[in-house]
Symmetry: C2
Subunit: 298 residues, 2 copies
């Protein structure tokens, strides 16, 4: 068992972290107190910063900002409103309020998102996302975003599947954005993607986005609520990298916290993850160090 598991995690360095994952998985399929019935074997993963690079800004923030920028060029009356103004002026101080989930900034952003995409059909939105993903490049690495998915995590997906775990992605980001890439890049069906989502209305044979968000933001306790609503369960295994993942991690039996500590090959930062990192020992999080645990990142 352990040999073939090692074969699957080829981008991982041998060590305590890798061994801990393999040991836990083994214990859930063998007789004993850790045994998990096959139907209960679900694993949930955060997306931004857990499955792909989230610095200098999360991929979806880039997508949204680019779309809003285009709209402000078409409709100059927007240029004096937030967040358009900050996007046009590259006002990083304001933009970081959004990224830090400051309520007023989020309210402005949500209004702009509603303006931008309400009335959109699923196909129209998918087309926009695909176009963005084939053209946008990462600032530091100058590659497409989908080339910045962490290879070790994809190997972990394969390992989990070999143990008959069903994998769900649960992100604070937009569900429908992620669903566009889920099958091709993660090998995970769209229905296994959970995230913040707009309401749709079905009228005259067509689904169209409304201005509303349905079921709240999928962050913090919202992640657990979204996971239960989608799956009817809490996860056996959960993986995240930020404070917004704490409740999801705590709801799982086995908790993986990714630490961004590799300035050279990726980024080194703990903004927005300090609480999670501080809690790691008390709460029995298995911390994955990108620097030490990953032989290859991409």
């Amino acid at each position: 068992m352990i040999n073939s598991d090692n074969d699957r995690l080829t981008s991982w360095n041998n060590g305590l972290t890798k061994q801990s994952i393999i040991d836990f998985l083994n214990s859930t399929v063998e007789d004993g107190s850790n045994y998990i019935k096959p139907e209960d074997r679900i694993a949930t993963f955060d997306n931004d910063g857990t499955l792909w690079v989230e610095q200098p800004i999360p991929v979806q923030a880039d997508f949204i900002f680019q779309a809003l920028l285009k709209s402000s060029l078409k409709d100059p009356s927007l240029a004096n409103q937030q967040p358009y103004k900050a996007i046009i002026e590259k006002d990083n101080k304001y933009l970081s309020l959004i990224l830090e989930q400051q309520p007023d900034a989020i309210m402005d952003l949500e209004r702009a998102i509603a303006r931008q995409w309400s009335g959109t059909t699923p196909n129209e939105f998918e087309y926009e996302v695909k176009k963005f993903l084939t053209t946008a490049k990462h600032l530091k690495f100058n590659v497409n975003y989908t080339d910045m998915i962490y290879k070790p995590m994809l190997e972990l997906f394969d390992l989990l599947k070999s143990y008959k775990y069903r994998i769900f992605i649960c992100s604070g980001g937009g569900r429908d954005f992620m669903r566009v890439i889920a099958e091709e890049t993660w090998g995970i069906h769209k229905e296994n993607v959970i995230g913040t989502a707009p309401e749709y209305e079905y009228q005259n044979g067509t689904l169209k986005r409304t201005k509303k968000i349905i079921g709240g933001i999928s962050l913090g306790p919202g992640k657990v609520e979204h996971i239960f609503a989608s799956t009817g369960r809490l996860p056996v295994i959960a993986a995240g990298n930020a404070d917004g993942d704490i409740e999801m991690l705590d709801s799982a039996k086995y908790k993986l916290l990714l630490s961004h500590d590799d300035h050279e090959r990726e980024y080194a930062y703990n903004d927005g993850a300090q609480k999670a990192l501080n809690n790691a020992k008390d709460k029995d999080y298995t911390v994955i160090s990108i620097k030490n645990d990953w032989k290859k990142i991409f």
Copy 2:
């Protein structure tokens, strides 16, 4: 192919309906204009009246009415309020308003449901449902409700799975009630069960139901909205038996409408299904006649 498909549908009579299902499925996996990529192969089924008997009242209505009756015995002040009063007095006139989705009656029912189950944890609710299902008997057949699931439909599930379709149940009824039986009786994971659902709040490590319904009632256009929200797709195949299924059927490529026309072995009725049955020809619904198409029902 067709021989082994026949072997799977053993409770179905040979004839146009059975052949139509097999032919359609074959056409979706063979080269040609009907071909469906594996990731797109999803099928959605209504529950009450499509997967099990819904007469004289739907199973969940029995569950809810029994629970509310018990509460009214504990708290006599409820006895003069609706729907408690009607349940105590077996006032079928009022109760049928609920079953026909009359807005005022539904509002009373929703208030009673919120009173009954808000604050409940998933485990507590599951325990109640299991207890009900092991004790309650059907009025006419005097068997447990789970013994009244249509065998031909379970065979169709197996056939669909052999064509690599992923099956979702999409009911107007309560998602969490159905999830209790999904794995054991349908062989379908909880996450593939879609329905009307309460909001949950995650606090202090515990999920508890609130008084709110999330995402609206899963009926009519709401079924399509729920299916898209859960799966990111519209169905290739949809099966229903009532007017509340029309939008779901119309959103699918292949539409199965179950007709309850067997007074002897089940029930013969078309209340709440007249529009669907009238539309069948124009809208190319494949009508399944229980009387003619099913050799065995249970």
